[in-house]
C-alpha cells in the first residue's frame, strides 16, 4: 500500500488535534505557545503535501512565510510571558484575567 495524500492529511489533522488539546488542557503559558507551534507545524505539513501533490512550489513558499510569522509570534509571545511573569510571579493563565493592574 503506497502512501497517499490522504495519509499526510490524516497525520496533519491528528497533530492539529493534539495541539488544540494542549491549548485547552495545559495551565502553563509557555506550553500553550508550544501547542500553537504544533498546530502551525500540522498546517505546514498540509501545505507541503498538497504542494507536492499539485506539483507546485507555492506550498513550500507559504511554509517559508508561516515559519517567519511563527518566529515573530514566538518572539512577541515570549516577551509578553516575561513581562507577565515579572508582574505576577506565575505562568498560570488563570492569574492573568485582568487587563490592567
Amino acid at each position: 500500500m503506497d502512501v497517499t495524500l490522504n495519509h499526510y492529511l490524516v497525520l496533519s489533522a491528528m497533530l492539529f488535534a493534539i495541539g488544540t488539546a494542549g491549548v485547552f488542557l495545559r495551565r502553563n503559558v509557555i506550553t500553550l505557545l508550544l501547542s500553537i507551534e504544533i498546530m502551525l507545524n500540522a498546517v505546514n505539513l498540509t501545505f507541503v503535501a498538497a504542494g507536492r501533490h499539485f506539483a507546485a512550489v507555492d506550498g513550500q513558499v507559504i511554509v517559508f512565510f508561516v515559519m517567519t510569522v511563527a518566529a515573530a509570534e514566538a518572539a512577541v509571545g515570549l516577551a509578553i510571558v516575561i513581562a507577565l511573569f515579572r508582574h505576577r510571579e506565575s505562568l498560570n493563565p488563570e492569574a492573568f484575567t485582568s487587563l490592567k493592574w
Binding site: 493534539i18 505546514n44 512550489v57 515573530a72 514566538a74 515570549l78 509578553i80
Partner: protein
C-alpha cells in the same frame, strides 16, 4: 513494502508520540525537548515529500532558533512545575453542568469523526504524484517564486520581523523605577 511507506509510518508515529509528549509533561523543559523531536520527525517527512529546502529550514529555523528562544525563556524564568491539584479545583470548566455539556459535544464529535473516516475509506485515495527532479524539490524554483510572484509578501514579512523585534524589546524591557 516500499521504503517510503515504512519511513512515513515510522516518522508519523515519532511525530505523534513526541507531540503527545509535549502536552503530557508537567515540566516545560521536557515539553520543549519533546517538541524538538517532533520537528525532527516532520523534517524527515518533508524529505520524503521531495522538499529538502523546507526540511533544512525546519531544522535550522524551528529546531535551531525558535526552540532555543523557548528554552532560553524557560530557563531564564526558572519556571515552576504545573500544580495539577490547584487548577482541578479552581477551573471554571470543572462544574457539573460544563461536564455534561462537554460529554454531549464529545459524543457528537466522535460520531462525526467516525462518519468522516468511514466516508474517506470508502472513497478512492488520491495518490501523491511522482514529481521528477527539478519539480518541487528545486531550491532555485522556490527562490524564483519567492522573489517574483511573492516579492510583496516577502517584503511585508521583513517589516513584520522588524516590528516583532522592536515589540519584543519594548515588552520585555524593565520599566525604569
Amino acid at each position: 513494502m516500499a521504503f517510503e511507506t515504512i519511513g512515513f509510518y515510522v516518522l508519523a508515529a515519532l511525530a505523534i508520540i513526541a507531540s503527545v509528549g509535549v502536552i503530557g509533561q508537567r515540566n516545560p523543559i521536557y515539553s520543549v525537548m519533546s517538541l524538538i523531536g517532533s520537528f525532527g520527525a516532520l523534517a524527515g517527512l518533508y524529505i520524503l515529500l521531495d522538499s529538502p529546502f523546507t526540511a533544512v529550514t525546519q531544522i535550522i529555523v524551528y529546531a535551531g532558533a525558535i526552540m532555543v528562544l523557548f528554552l532560553f525563556v524557560v530557563m531564564l524564568l526558572n519556571v515552576p512545575r504545573e500544580d495539577a491539584a490547584e487548577w482541578d479545583r479552581s477551573h471554571p470548566l470543572n462544574r457539573p453542568g460544563a461536564r455534561r455539556f462537554g460529554a454531549v459535544l464529545a459524543v457528537f464529535l466522535l460520531l462525526e469523526l467516525g462518519w468522516a473516516v468511514w466516508h474517506a475509506s470508502t472513497r478512492e485515495a488520491v495518490a501523491l504524484n511522482t514529481v521528477s527532479a527539478g519539480g518541487v524539490s528545486s531550491v532555485a524554483a522556490i527562490g524564483r517564486s519567492i522573489f517574483t510572484d511573492y516579492s510583496f509578501q516577502f517584503e511585508a514579512t521583513s517589516i513584520l520581523i522588524l516590528v516583532a523585534m522592536v515589540g519584543a524589546v519594548v515588552l520585555a524591557r524593565k520599566e525604569p523605577q
